[in-house]
């Protein structure tokens, strides 16, 4: 059964408790944590992973995936993945084969891992990843390119290998992406019986205000400053 969730990218400075509360408020089942965000789950500290998983599980939320650079130390990644009971997403800008081989080492060590693919190269990269018997995590960005064709390709023969989707432009931005294939994607996932996770993340930092409101976060900017930043878009009430 597909599970909808939230990426810590939606509130980079939020602690774990605040992310979990946002999930509960929005009826979201899973969390994606990115290394380096403010949630406090660190690669150097596997115990933080154990405690975080327990804290989330206590209110019915699961930390489903942890996203980190494929260049991180494999042993530290493996320890944290095991502590969280989560799938590790290996991200990075380099060659996908390199990321896939790092992921394979994790899988061979008994840790669940998937390789992130995105953009115009997503289909090609997914073929490489699946040819090595590994799972794929897709960063889907409706603001950058229509999703329907990529969804067909990634759900087709490789559907069973698609483990996770991060929708960069979900949540309060959904209203902006009419005709970009989000509806078609969700319909295809349903018909394919997609059983992975799908997390919501901002498509751009321009929408931070909209995300703050959507997640129920209040204030914190003090006087002036970002609250008056004209580059930020407020979608409240849309």
């Amino acid at each position: 059964m597909m599970r909808l969730g939230l990426s810590s990218a939606a509130a980079r400075d939020a602690g774990l408790g605040e992310l979990i509360a946002a999930c509960v408020r929005r009826g979201l089942a899973v969390l994606e944590l990115r290394a380096g965000d403010g949630h406090g789950v660190e690669l150097e500290d596997a115990l933080s992973g154990v405690l975080a998983a327990e804290q989330a599980r206590a209110v019915g939320v699961e930390i489903a995936v942890y996203r980190a650079s494929a260049e991180e130390d494999t042993l530290r990644l493996a320890r944290l993945g095991e502590a969280l009971g989560a799938t590790l997403l290996l991200d990075g800008a380099g060659d996908v084969t390199h990321r896939a081989l790092r992921a394979r080492r994790l899988v061979e060590a008994g840790v669940d891992a998937a390789v992130v693919v995105r953009g115009a190269g997503a289909r090609h990269d997914a073929r490489v990843v699946t040819s090595l018997g590994l799972a794929v995590a897709w960063d889907a960005a409706p603001g950058e390119r229509p999703l329907a064709d990529d969804a067909d390709a990634l759900l087709g023969a490789r559907g069973a290998r698609l483990r996770h989707i991060c929708l960069r432009g979900g949540g309060p931005e959904a209203v902006l992406h009419e005709g970009r294939g989000v509806g078609a994607l969700m319909g295809r996932l349903a018909l394919a019986g997609y059983a992975g996770s799908l997390t919501l993340a901002p498509g751009s930092r321009r929408y931070e205000v909209a995300w703050q409101i959507w997640l129920g976060r209040r204030g914190g900017w003090g006087c002036g400053g970002k609250a008056h930043d004209r580059t930020l878009v407020n979608l409240a009430g849309t």
């Binding site: 909808l4 009826g27 989000v182 969700m186 319909g187 018909l191 799908l198």
Partner: protein, 78 residues
């Protein structure tokens, strides 16, 4: 991979929600179903189903708020 088909429309642009739901329903064979997930009571959708798909669908509420509504929608007739 499995089993329960889950159509979560919370991320779909508003104007695409109902068309997506009806397209998904149209792809079902008799006896098949999916679980619709929404962030508000889908009562207007049910009215639309009753008008457009009378006698051809099943509607079972699984969860009724306050954050999430889940409804199992099935095709009962071709």
């Amino acid at each position: 991979m499995t089993n329960t088909r889950m159509l979560d429309v919370r991320v779909i642009p508003p104007r695409e929600k109902h068309p997506t739901i009806f397209q998904t329903f149209a792809s079902l064979a008799p006896g098949e179903s999916f679980v619709l997930v929404n962030d508000h009571d889908p009562r207007p959708l049910r009215y639309q189903f009753e008008y457009e798909q009378a006698g051809q669908f099943g509607w079972e509420c699984l969860e009724q708020g306050p954050a999430v509504w889940r409804v199992a929608i099935s095709r009962t007739a071709p």
